[in-house]
Amino acid sequence: MRASSQGALKKPSVIPGFGLALGFTLAYLSLIVLIPLAALVLKTASLGWPEFWRIATDPRTIAALKVSFGISFAAAAINAVFGLIVAWVLVRYEFPGRKLLDAFIDLPFALPTAVAGIALTALYAPNGWIGELVKPFGIKIAYTPIGILIALTFIGLPFIVRTVQPVLEDLDREVEEAAATLGARRFQTFRKVILPALLPALLTGFALALARAIGEYGSVIFIAGNIPFVSEIAPLLIVIKLTEFNYPAATAIASIMLAISFVLLLVINLLQAWSRRGLSNG
């Protein structure tokens, strides 16, 4: 930053309103976000390490975190593959209904999670449209971890598609032609030229979908069955502890999840910086 006066926090400008705008921004940010989050940190700190550790290593807590992470990771991985295919199809191919399909990608962003939750449950329950189809094979989706996987895949899909899509659109077609003139088969071009270019975006989308899935609540609880140690997710455990008025436990679990979210946020920011660097040169 080029500050014309030494030590100045802000560059001089003829535009008015800096003090008002920044003052309001900081005050509002503090009141709504920072102080409440600080309360969580403070409350966790007041538990003391032994108490925190006891809650964190409680088998039910660990089981819930495992369910949340394991299934979120699987859902993000599934979305990475299918999201890439969807983004590819939407960007590269012309076919009837493409625009409509494109608009529908954001449905999981727009549809309230509770609605998604009961709709998915209705579909995948043993008497639902899809549940009925798989029942003869002895597969049960709703009220099992597979149900959680379905819900988390549903809410995560747009993240991958929407991060990969613009990068794919900006990809220089001449680069692919260059690979072809150099003798690369189509799949070699995809693997060696296109995929590396998409990788930062793909990983960013993966991390975003993962972060969203770990914290997800509304769409999961209806379909999950919520059996402790089997299909109980961490956010639900927080709610259960709260309804039992066990605030220390709720706080401790929330802190663990918050810490994990921050790490993911950091990773996402690094990935985006990497992705921007990759895009800026040419």
Binding site: L22, L29, V33, F95, A110, A122, P235, F245, Y247, S261
Partner: protein, 292 residues
Amino acid sequence: MADVALVPPVGAPRRREVISEGLFVRVVLIAIAVALLGIFLLLPLVSVFYEAFRTGFGPYWAALGEKDALAAIRLTLLVAAIAVPANLVFGVAAAWAIAKFDFKGKSFLITLIDLPFSVSPVTSGLIYVLLFGAQGFFGPWLQSQGIQIIFAVPGIVLATIFVTFPFVARELIPLMQEQGTTDEEAAISLGAGGWQTFFRVTLPNVKWALLYGVLLGNARAMGEFGAVAVVSGKIRGQTNTMPLHVEILYNEYMAVAAFAVASLLAMLALITLGLKTFLEWRFSGEIAAIRR
């Protein structure tokens, strides 16, 4: 690819797609995408309306006209009517400070603004319980003053503001940064005051992005479940928003009523998607960072 339609020329019996895939691969990929989106996105949406009208129009209307359902609809509208404008004002102020001025710690501030997106909805509700709940930091004092925030409307509003906090700001900041400060400097050099500059120069430049942010924020505000569930207490007719009412009805095995209320929220989602697509199509140049 313009050459797709061409008849293969004489002397070129093996013409190939240079940088596209063979027809078979294309058809398979399109089929996968369409099937996936159909089963995964469209089918749940269809099932909402199917379940809602399963027993005909009568029960559907009865479910929506029910007293508690109407109260939930009113509360949802009220909460959105407070949360959305509050975050609109904040988003504009934050974007003004961040985009029009250079100051230290700017990128850190942007990260902080995005923070609520990476917090689990449940945690978003919990933090207010910890602050204002009966056992919270300010709980005893609030109780002595007779003010109730948790398990009451103020708590629902706060939690909703938290989860929709970044929507307007994150649309405006990149756009206003891209637009720079020349327009404002020109206005000021022509004698316009600060507010005049804002309302007559800056605001018209960003109005569609602003609307876009409001649209998405509103959808989230009306549909929020996890954060609101934690702070609401779910008192029928009083602290029940539409998504919470859906849950209660569903858990009471009143599927038709639950899906009837859910169908309203699904329509909200469809309208949001429609308007969003329209804004992207019509004003794509005036909405920066459409895609995250």
